[in-house]
Symmetry: C2
Subunit: 120 residues, 2 copies
Amino acid sequence: MQTQTRPPSTGRSLEHPERDEIRLESVLHALSDPVRLTIFRSLARAEDELSCSVFELPVSKSTTTHHFRVLRESGVIHQIYRGTAKMNALRRDDLEALFPGLLDALLTSAAHQADRLAND
Amino acid sequence: MQTQTRPPSTGRSLEHPERDEIRLESVLHALSDPVRLTIFRSLARAEDELSCSVFELPVSKSTTTHHFRVLRESGVIHQIYRGTAKMNALRRDDLEALFPGLLDALLTSAAHQADRLAND
DNA sequence: GTCGAAGTACGATGGATCTCGTACACCGGC
DNA sequence: GCCGGTGTACGAGATCCATCGTACTTCGAC
């Protein structure tokens, strides 16, 4: 259920794959890019919607838009317009139903690797 | 230790990444191709070395070589020449050490999806 | 030594992808 | 109504990638 303090979504529509249209290959491809893996981890940590603009990514605005679209079209994230912002959230329920345990394994794997590379 | 009935490896050498050179992004990219995901699942089921030639893939011989190379260079599989054959095996220990739980999550996810798509 | 099986190397080709800049659209606040 | 912030659309460039066919190498068997 949506909180009342949250601005409503606008009429602008965004295409999302249905749950049963999500493919493992597409999810893996989406997460195989370093920028998108970073976004993925941030969204998992946030546990709430995040606007595109809060991310500090080493790419331009238009490239950022591109990466969020790939994540959305692969079924990894849900996007919705709220006012001028575009909010992003992991599709946790859908992914857990389709690929049980995968999300956690990916997140811990990414965390392990980040630790490992930081302490080289 | 190597069994005595197994033909020895020949002098032909194959480049493999060290364990600490394996990157999650590269592994995910390697497994994001349908052909390579099929190979991955077959090797996991086999629990032993398999030669390239036992796979019935919907691509040509040279494309098959390409896919096995991607899997090897990403660190997913280990390859070794034995006689005229080239044997393939999952790098289970390395992957489990780097990405605990990921292998199983990927395999069960792929199996779930295969079941789901078969019973449509 | 010759042959066949297994796999490679190489180049080509068509398509996807990552990146960017510029110009534009949408929305809230003033 | 206008401005600024947020994000898009579009085109372009460079690179990567999956695929193939052909010619070649390597090795075991005979």
